[in-house]
Symmetry: D2
Subunit: 401 residues, 4 copies
Amino acid sequence: MSNTPRRAGRHFLQIPGPTPVPDRILRAMDMPVIDHRGPEFGKLGRRVLDGIKTIFRCAGPVIIYPASGTGAWEAALINTLSPGDKVLMVETGQFATQWKTMAQKLGLVPEFIKTDWRIGADPAAIEQHLRADKNKEIKAVCVLHNETSTGALTPIAEIRKAIDAAGHPALFLVDTISSLASADYRHDEWGVDVSIGGAQKGLMLPPGMSFNALSDKALAAAKTSMLPKSFWAWDDMLNMNKIGFFPYTPATQMLHGLATSIEMLHEEGLENVFARHDRLAEATRRAVRGWGLEIMCREPKYYSPTITAVMLPDGHDADAFRNLALDSFNISYGASFGRYTGKYFRIGHLGDINETHLMGALGATEMGLALAGVPHKKGGVQAAMDYLVAAHGRSARAAAE
Amino acid sequence: MSNTPRRAGRHFLQIPGPTPVPDRILRAMDMPVIDHRGPEFGKLGRRVLDGIKTIFRCAGPVIIYPASGTGAWEAALINTLSPGDKVLMVETGQFATQWKTMAQKLGLVPEFIKTDWRIGADPAAIEQHLRADKNKEIKAVCVLHNETSTGALTPIAEIRKAIDAAGHPALFLVDTISSLASADYRHDEWGVDVSIGGAQKGLMLPPGMSFNALSDKALAAAKTSMLPKSFWAWDDMLNMNKIGFFPYTPATQMLHGLATSIEMLHEEGLENVFARHDRLAEATRRAVRGWGLEIMCREPKYYSPTITAVMLPDGHDADAFRNLALDSFNISYGASFGRYTGKYFRIGHLGDINETHLMGALGATEMGLALAGVPHKKGGVQAAMDYLVAAHGRSARAAAE
Amino acid sequence: MSNTPRRAGRHFLQIPGPTPVPDRILRAMDMPVIDHRGPEFGKLGRRVLDGIKTIFRCAGPVIIYPASGTGAWEAALINTLSPGDKVLMVETGQFATQWKTMAQKLGLVPEFIKTDWRIGADPAAIEQHLRADKNKEIKAVCVLHNETSTGALTPIAEIRKAIDAAGHPALFLVDTISSLASADYRHDEWGVDVSIGGAQKGLMLPPGMSFNALSDKALAAAKTSMLPKSFWAWDDMLNMNKIGFFPYTPATQMLHGLATSIEMLHEEGLENVFARHDRLAEATRRAVRGWGLEIMCREPKYYSPTITAVMLPDGHDADAFRNLALDSFNISYGASFGRYTGKYFRIGHLGDINETHLMGALGATEMGLALAGVPHKKGGVQAAMDYLVAAHGRSARAAAE
Amino acid sequence: MSNTPRRAGRHFLQIPGPTPVPDRILRAMDMPVIDHRGPEFGKLGRRVLDGIKTIFRCAGPVIIYPASGTGAWEAALINTLSPGDKVLMVETGQFATQWKTMAQKLGLVPEFIKTDWRIGADPAAIEQHLRADKNKEIKAVCVLHNETSTGALTPIAEIRKAIDAAGHPALFLVDTISSLASADYRHDEWGVDVSIGGAQKGLMLPPGMSFNALSDKALAAAKTSMLPKSFWAWDDMLNMNKIGFFPYTPATQMLHGLATSIEMLHEEGLENVFARHDRLAEATRRAVRGWGLEIMCREPKYYSPTITAVMLPDGHDADAFRNLALDSFNISYGASFGRYTGKYFRIGHLGDINETHLMGALGATEMGLALAGVPHKKGGVQAAMDYLVAAHGRSARAAAE
């Protein structure tokens, strides 16, 4: 409660990243720093550089930056493009908008397909736009796999098909920051040229590390890209990475954490990881419907397995609700953005969380809605439980057969 | 799920101790060991030896043993009693029975007041028993403040009154292992001679440390006690403790943890700590009743603020339920004992837990009951939420007034 | 030894950064990640943004990047300069050379004053160069306070005087990565426009965070700078920093570590920190002379308080020596660069180390020289001890007076 | 230095235990507590109960107590003996004296062979004493393998032979607290009945756990022992240990640490561990002789591989020296005892330390002697380095052949 100086118990971090870091990862990072030019580091370097490919599902190289995710956005653009290049982007929400702003600051010229922020990127709209680009002036299509600000997932394989259907040679750059290692993702199979990832979501790490997974086409584009680059430049990275090292001081502790993260994901099994996220997301949506509230994402096709944004009835301030829940129940939610500021809150259900944890979060949410006087129906938590019991029952029967 | 090698997410440790250790305490313990004969240790020693008195609410000394709680039972007996001494004990459950067995092994002669394990110690029965002891052969009355095996709290102040009413000179030894720093406890005010505590419950520490809080009468008794003693002997401890040190190697890391624990309890405020436990316990009982299940403790007077034991309908195995819940929802409960083995499970709701955490635990429990096919009604979680919302609302209104 | 799979004992990390991270800092970082948009973070943000100024000794803002030190080099250049701008740099060693290469990659035009890598930047040479720049085409003077690759310290106050004496308006950018919080440094007093710092040296943190301390002149330059920028851009940072937040996800754990680092530095006292580094550096140099070996830095004026590079006699491979010492004595040294590759090794004596630690490192070095068959005299360790005893004796007498 | 509030750098803990705990062990202990009645614990329990046998080199059971080492002394006595039993003990120093005092407090009757505290237990004296015990009234011979207070090692195999030569049926109880996992020890081969061990020395753990390794003869003796016992009783322990559990709450975190400790010892190889300790001990003794000081242990036959006690010249206070070294060089030594109080200090060189660490400790010692004005010769550190270089040279040549 707000009048006690210490909030008891564990904080429930339901922002859509950073996600709760497992103790095993925190402890792997809580170790003396090793010489980043010594033989022990070389082994670690090779281990994570190989391992991260199994997460992006790619055969080519993955660049690991000692910088938080926004840096990997910048890296993807400046390694492949030149000043004045046109890029096609889709306004799926706040983060897509920020990426667009970044492109402008870097001297690129974004074309920006509008949405109402309540769906992902529409393959048909992209195809249409590319078909209209007769002179092939668009050099890259830039899409977020999962729009973190609204909880809408874009079908990347369909976007690839749209680009191909349009017969367009543009590069395909995809932000997987809030979907990697929690939603199914396939860099190679889906024909992505640069996949952008971050540490602090499905990889269950603290913030401070980001990724560019590269295709051959991206590597070729890098050779002619004219944007100035040094810290983010792929070439020096690729040279040093061959022997497990980095051209400048890497974030050693983050790499220790990454090695453990990859190990844990494979212990659970990526398919199990994705199924778990699907299950928790569906339970969350059932809770929201149970409360009689509206899910921000208005088409089931675009439902996110990692984030659910919940709209409050008109006249009710989502930020006030969030503050009350934090004070009363030690839980954090994601904020709202843009024209929707104050109108919704986001429940992150990604990373190292399980059913019991989710029930805590949903229970706190239902109680918070009541305390805050937000009009809603009881029964959301019950609906989530009913769904999870049925899901576990099915799974147990399947295992027995 | 049982067929994946890694259970995702945080384990919910709802055994009635050890309780979840806060990260702040774990980190305070995760430090290089210091010289237990050096000046830095001396400061630590004085700090915890003084601090722990504020938890027992006593002015006299508290002995800190580098040993788990069972040792402090033994210490209380062998420092105050002599071979063949009669002690009065009450069979409130499994732990009372174990203490009785220990007394026998140490050469004492327990008189054991029976119960059906579903209530705490009855002051009237004790008074009656003491009145009947015309020759004052009973040297100590030994009671558990909270019977960990069943979740029944004994009113210690009333037992004190019963002893006084009987005009009996027996020592009063109280086990506070599963109540200290979570239920209201007052060593001095309630006239307890030896209070026995452990680290791993309300103090939120790992197991491996235990306590004897002493009255002047206990100190006097120690001078004539004839049971052989060395490791547990109070005298050497008291001498060395004067300057902050210990006669033999203490559990240094546990002492660092204890210093932090005491600090955290006072940051929250002991009264707030007790109120939080009361609130979570009542919410848990409302959930149990909502499920239509029976609470082990059959008289509200004895309800425990830290543990609720839940009886399953006949024919349903509580251990099978616990295993299924562990496999499916990554949650541990306390087991059942004695003639009730397999008939109940215990939910620990003590230590560093909050409402959101509890809703996770209760949600997992309701889902586990469903998965296990235990006959019950839906609505337990809902009842708990309704209670907690009302409780927070009252508290918020009170704060506003 | 190399034939055992585990090297016993603690590794002695004598590379010139990352330096040994104190347990207190590692534990402060080993904590659940908090919401980087919540109130608790806001307090942390303000605390470190204020605190870091006391380390740079500046009144203006300090930018904190969630990226390793090389990024802060890039940030300093692209926030203040425009394509084609001339910058004056001094080839003090490998890192100066890398910064020059970076400037070129970013489209700047470095003028590069040569040295033999065995001294710091010469104020007279800079003054002369600037005087020759009649048209004031040079937009920035870029100097490393401490050249990490050779162990030479440049007198920054004298460089400031040289710029002023030349009446030149160029910005003054200084890399303090391997000197901050270990050698005396005064951003404001010395008239530096951008000071570039990193986490993993004197601040005793792991790598993954870097700094730009700014003057008003730097802030003004940023308004007209034409190099494209987004991740590194100061403007968004400054806006958000006002309320303790960051425009994109910060490296939360690093910030927790930074708060603790600043606290520890002030507990010891910055003047004491500098005196300790001076003392350990002098002891190291006495050891090197005692061994009859040559110190890379050939003018005492430029001796580094944080790093001593030691030249081996011709025909002896410094890398072979380093490998043998690592295998035999679990110690890492810094490597050699450029035309001197294999000719010297570097002893880092910065960060959280004390006399006893240094004697371990110097002892291992003297033993390693013997094992590796490097011609040298015994007595280096003895000379270091003699110096430190005398230094402590003086200090004790001074304290007593 | 004493006038700064924070001592920089790592503390060198050269007390003869607790020893420096490796980070890997501290991190293994810095984990959420698990249910000590659940399946995961069962695996841990079996793992450590089996693993600890490989350290004691015994086939029979080892009892693990959640209590510091002194408790295991008490356990060994009260599980095997009865009130009034005679035990033969040797006054090798302070800890032997304390064990004797404990025996008296427990109602046993020690016969105490005197020494001047400067050698270990003499096999001939024991044989002679046992031969004189015509009526076989002595029920146990109690010896410390390594007398921690003086640094003298007793040849246990020879004591066994002495008992056998005397044809005496007494039990053989051996304290290995400051030798286990650092000096060669063989419970079965040497015919020991109860080996007493502690966590905080060669096992590299914090204090808070202790051991009794048992022979069949000890188990048989336990059946007739009449001393009262409950917490320390072997029988309940042995029953529960069969399935990996404990009769009362174990020190869970210590068990996690123990599992890691055993793993690390086998990674290095026990023979390598012993050789390392021998090497460091000999280097330490050469340093002491180099300083012209006297080693407490006056017969090389009894030299301890884990502790070297150093006598100061008359008129020089060892405690003043220790305090000055702590203040000046952040190093802790062991204190002196009994009639020698203030006349010597002890250097612990056991546990997870290596040559480089030892050189730090010896360097600080030589500097401390100078600062404290203790008459001594320079050259101790040099002598230690010369020895270690030669030892490594021999070892490298042996490996090459």
